[in-house]
Structure formats: C-alpha cells, structure tokens
Subunit: 245 residues, 2 copies
C-alpha cells in the first residue's frame, strides 16, 4: 500500500518545480528500476506489483506493493508497467574531463524524447559526460528517464552556460555540425574533444558557434533539409569511435 | 472560413479508420504544407492564416482563411502553427526496386515518431523506398507526417507482408542488425539490398530473421543494451553510403 502522501508526492514529481524542491525524481518500468537498483543512486521507494517486488534483490530499500490499477492511477508516462521508483537527484557537479575524453555539449535540446535518446546513444558509444545548456530539457523529467532505457544511471549530465564552460576545457577541439564543414567520414577524432549538438530548430547558437574549432558535416545523399538532433548525435558518435578505434 | 463539415472532416482524419475511408490525410505546419505544394500529392484544401495564404503560390487549390484560434481548435498535433492541409493518400503500390537500390524494410516499427524520423533519415541518405509490415505505424498518421519534416513527399512507402515480399526482390542481400553480426564499419555495401529494421522492443521477428543473408552489428563502445530503432537506421544508412560512395 502507498500512503496518500506518497501518491501525492509521486504525482507531483512530474513537475520540474517539485522535483527541484524535493530533489527527487521518478523512474518508471521494470527494467529501468532494475538498472536504478544496480546504480549508485539513492532510492527512496520502489512501488510495484507483488510479483515484481518478489523478483528484486533490494536490501534496505522501502518497498510498497501496489495493484496495477493503483500504478496506472499514479498518472505515469507508460501504461501496463509493473513498477515505479522514487530516487534522489544527484548534485549538479561540474564535469572534469581529461584530455582525450569525448564530451557531448547540448545547446538547447528542448524535446525530452530527444534528450533521452541522446543519453542512451552516448552510453552505447561510451561517452559518459554531457554538458547541457540551462534551456535543455530536464534530465530528471520522466519522459527523458524512460527514453534513456536505463542509461541515465551511467551518463553524467551537468547543466551550465556553454559559453562559459567550453573555453575552460583541456581539449583543443570543439566539434560542431554545420552545413559546410569537413565531411565527418574523414575527420580525425584522435585527440578527444567536445561535440556540440545544436537546438532542434535553430541549430548551434551564435555565441556557442564562435567557440567551435572544427566545423564538421554529415554528408547528405538525398534531399531532407536536416537530420533530427538525436540522429545527428548518433551518426557523429559512430564516426568518432570508428575514427579513433 | 472553414465549413462545419470541413472542420469535422479534418478532425476525423486523426483516426486511421476515417483516413482509410476518405483516402485523405492531414499535413500540419507552414513548412510541411509548402513541401506538399511542391510534391505530386493531390491537395484537397489548405487552411491557414491570411498572411500565410498570401505567401503561397497554389493555383487551383482550395484555400480557406482561418484564425489562429480556429486552427488550434482543429485539435492538431502542433500548436502555434499557421497552416494545415488535407491531401489525398497514394495507393499502396508495390515497390519495384532495381538491382543496386537500397530499400528499408520495417519489421513492426510501432512508434509514429520513430517512423517519421526513419523516413526523414532515409530521405537524407537518398533511400526513397520503404517496405513496412502491416503492423508498422501508419505513414499518414499526423505525428508521422510531422516528424518527417517534409520528407513524406519524397519517400515511397509500401505496406506488405515482409516474409512474402522480401524473397521476390532482385538483390541477393538482405541486411539485418543483430548482436553477433559483421561490424557495420567493415561491411561491403556495394551491391545494394534490403536493410531490415526490427521492432523497438523485440527486434527482427523470427520469420523475417530467416530471410536475412547478411547479419550486421553496430559496434558498441559503452554499456547501453540497445539503440533506438531510428538511431540504428541512421547509423546503418551512414555506413551504407560511406562504404558505397
């Protein structure tokens, strides 16, 4: 059973203001909750069906058995799910990348689905550090967490003003995709660097654009005007790893 | 002014049953409507703000001036938009690819956003033929059309049973992504072929899996369990074009 107070808390965490106030966020879905348990996040509570809870190894974590109807009534993003967890947000600590590391820099990625997919893709390509502009979607939004498919536990995000943060980094390279840059198939990615991904509609902002040292381009073979931001991230990451293997 | 009957029609086209009955679909947003005008689709109607309509060159097309409130009341997918069009669906004609062509085969892509992003990505990479299983999301769903960012006008989709259609194609190659295939960075894509993309949760189905001649793998450098279906499509297409330039 979940207390009325806990139900109210979980529902309120769909809103950023309450997440920031409580420093808590919601993780939905059986698989994501297992990833959460295997991570270094502090877990406040797991609510799930009896069958699901009995499958978990979660010493020291508060468990609450709930029915499927009760889970659905929590107003969650996914339906037909068997579990939900409440966990503590991590502090917004500055990244300290070393020379040779690749870091993604998100310049106003507004869509939560795009941000979640970018986090999942970064994790696939072994890029575990992301710096995001303050206008980027909130990492702890349920839609973002769900779209990461568990990768939120392995990728560190830091919200900061990119124009202030980028110049402080050890790498000489700040890569950014433009229409007239070097073909990403031939770029030498051996020294690490920042990879800037621009806003879905406007691309890379003028201020951040001035900090780009290496303009790169994903070659086009057809007629679409542009690529989705998460798609562009993936194609760049694939070429980064292929060229620095 | 839009008549009550037209408003009712436009709203009904959010539902697949009515789209199929009327053989009509809705295109939302200023840019997408311009792409529609420049395509070979037959347009039934364009409704938009006076300012937008006066910017169009659309001889022979029925135009209806509407206010922003009226546009929003149509229950559209996007808000703050200046136009909506109704156009005629194309018949579900069989693809007739030639040897050397690349064709995407979608094995139950259920999410409309994923399908739209795949269409946009295919267009970027010059792949204009898609065959999709009957369980794949409907191409004419507004969310799909919007996510294609205009590429719905340049990419042809054909819904068919993949197990029946694939064996009839001229190319010897049917590529499919699995965990233990050949590294996509080294595959020889010179002869064209089908590129099968599996369902978001289950991957490629057993029946279609039996038809795969070339098992390929996107190399992983980190820890995510899988990639989003549209992301995997993009990475494969980028390697296809890089290796067959």
């Amino acid at each position: 059973m979940l207390s009325k107070a806990k139900i109210k808390l979980i529902r309120s965490l769909q809103i950023k203001k309450y997440r920031q106030q409580e420093q808590l966020f919601v993780v939905e879905g059986a698989k994501s909750v297992v990833e959460l348990l295997n991570s270094d996040f502090t877990i406040d509570l797991i609510a799930g069906t009896g069958e699901y809870l009995s499958s978990l190894s979660a010493p020291g974590v508060m468990l609450a058995e709930v029915g499927k109807n009760e889970l659905e009534s929590l107003g969650l993003f996914q339906s037909n799910e068997s579990a939900v967890a409440v966990a503590r947000m991590k502090p917004n600590d500055a990244l300290k990348p070393e020379a040779g590391d690749f870091v993604l820099a998100l310049d106003d990625i507004r869509d939560p689905g795009n941000l979640g997919t970018i986090v999942r893709t970064a994790d696939w390509y072994g890029i575990t550090q992301i710096v995001a502009s303050p206008e980027t979607a909130d990492f702890y939004n349920s839609k973002v967490i769900t779209a990461t498919m568990g990768s939120f536990t392995r990728v560190k995000i830091y919200y900061a003003n990119l124009e202030e943060f980028l110049p402080r980094l050890p790498s000489r390279h700040v890569y950014g995709a433009f229409l007239e840059g070097q073909d990403v198939h031939t770029v030498d990615f051996n020294e690490g660097g920042m990879i800037v991904i621009g806003n879905e509609a406007r691309g890379i902002s003028e201020g951040v654009g001035r900090l780009i040292t290496d303009r790169i381009t994903i070659p086009r073979f057809g007629h679409a005007e542009s690529l989705n931001a998460a798609i562009a991230t993936a194609v760049i990451c694939d070429n980064v790893r292929r060229r620095s293997r």
